[in-house]
């Protein structure tokens, strides 16, 4: 059989997803034996022009990590989509916008002001530098997941995707045994379904952050007041974080039957808090517990703010999006 032609690309990413590919250890040698890597900016020096030179759908599959933040990210997503038969959203940023999707809580102008200061200091897409014209990719108004700009065939979720899932994916790829497009390389159900901690469904009487107390290693973290995103997060990772005594932060996105991860968790948590009080006192007591959550969006939408039902910052006073 001919060797597979594959590509790996990063858009608005941190580099963690590229590293995670190597976590499969010696299996990477099988990948190298079974596939030619035609594009991998992190590790090879193939140029964009090389990619442009391939015929349409010439590559078999491309793993795309990172979100769409700049014009370059978007244009490359479109070019790659044209050159590959199958496209994989690899990691939380490509899948749901990721941690950097939280930037959608600020407008482009706010971000530039924070980073570059006064408007005259902002980088321009087109400028003249020492007699040469410099073209920088424009910074888009909002960050989006990959699937907002091109069709995606598979999702490998996680931040970064866990070794077990990456390894299963490579095995399937090399065996010519990939599932039908649309598949997500993870469980259908939520993380609680595979987590072995004991769940008692007790009332949550206070919210704890991990630096404030050591969790009991046997009991459900949420029962103990640690905000574990397990109920609203897709399983499949093997519950690595709860097993390490850390609450799930939600990197795999929503389970198959849930449309919005943040609201799903918010609905769940709202029902779990309780003080034992009733009537008017009850509502005050429960709101006081919920008030202990410092960062509502950063907790419920840590990876999926850009994919949430809203997904971006609105501006009341102008009556329009910004």
């Amino acid at each position: 059989m001919d060797k597979l032609k594959i590509g790996i690309y990063w858009a608005a990413a941190c580099g963690g997803c590229d590293c995670s590919l190597l976590e499969v250890n010696e299996q990477i040698l099988d990948v190298a034996a079974g596939a030619d890597i035609l594009l991998w900016p992190c590790a090879t020096d193939a140029k964009y022009d090389d990619l442009r030179g391939y015929s349409d759908r010439e590559l078999d599959i491309v793993l795309f990590n990172g979100a769409i933040r700049t014009e370059e990210n978007r244009d490359m997503a479109q070019l790659i989509r044209a050159k590959t038969k199958r496209l994989v959203a690899y990691g939380a940023c490509a899948h749901t916008g990721g941690v950097i999707g939280l930037a959608n809580l600020s407008t482009r102008a706010e971000i530039f002001t924070t980073v570059f200061g006064a408007e005259k200091e902002w980088p321009q897409a087109l400028s003249n530098q020492a007699g040469h014209q410099l073209h920088l990719p424009a910074f888009l108004d909002h960050l989006t997941p990959l699937s907002d700009v091109v069709d995606v065939d598979y999702v490998i979720p996680g931040c970064p995707p866990p070794r077990k899932i990456v390894s299963e994916f490579f095995s399937a790829l090399l065996a010519g045994d990939l599932p039908e497009p649309g598949a997500v390389f993870a469980a259908e159900k939520n993380l609680c379904d595979e987590c072995e901690r004991e769940r008692e469904h007790t009332q949550i009487t206070h919210i704890l952050r991990v630096h404030e107390a050591s969790p009991d290693p046997e009991k459900c973290l949420l029962d103990q007041g640690f905000l574990c995103m397990g109920p609203a997060t897709r399983g499949g990772c093997g519950a690595v974080c709860p097993n390490a005594n850390m609450p799930c932060t939600g990197c795999a996105g929503a389970p198959a039957d849930v449309s919005d991860q943040g609201t799903a968790m918010l609905n769940t948590l709202a029902s779990l808090v309780g003080t034992g009080a009733e009537g008017e006192d009850q509502i005050e007591g429960e709101n006081a517990i919920l008030e202990q959550i410092d960062d509502v969006i950063g907790t419920f939408y840590r990876y999926a703010a850009a994919k949430s039902l809203f997904g971006r910052r609105y501006r009341e006073q102008h009556g329009q999006t910004n």
Binding site: L105, S259, D260, G262, T263, A264, L266, N267, L269, A270, S271, V273, E278, G279, E280, Q282, I283, E286, N287, L290, I293, V296, I297, F300, Y301, S308, L309, F310, R312, R313, Y314, R315, E316, H318, G319, Q320, T321
Partner: protein, 141 residues
Amino acid sequence: MNEKSGFEPKIVAFLCKWTTYAAADLCGVSRMPYPPNISIIRVNCTGEITADMILSAFEDGVDGILIGGCRPGHCRYEDSNLKGSNRVYLLKRALKEFGLNPERIREVGIAGAQGLIFQRAVEKFTADIRALGPSPVTDHA
């Protein structure tokens, strides 16, 4: 403010069938008019209203959401309305961070016999939303 004066807000009211919906009904049969801006959705209990339902309503272009149910401690389904209130509390905090004024959601507890109070609550909420202007989400398809 001028440009807002011609603005007629679209308001969705989720009303518990045991109390506030009955109050709305009473307004109807007693011919007590209230602003036509509200579309009423009858629910079994305000505890049924999820954060997704509220967000979807905003996505569909609603400018304000009124939630009317039993008073605390009087819900037919134990403390279900309070769990609903907890959701609204958290959602309002989330909406604020997304740049939406949390005042666009209001909760009221109005008993079935309080038609007049319902009428006033709708008038007040409509006026308040009119003053806020159109929802910034409206132009986001």
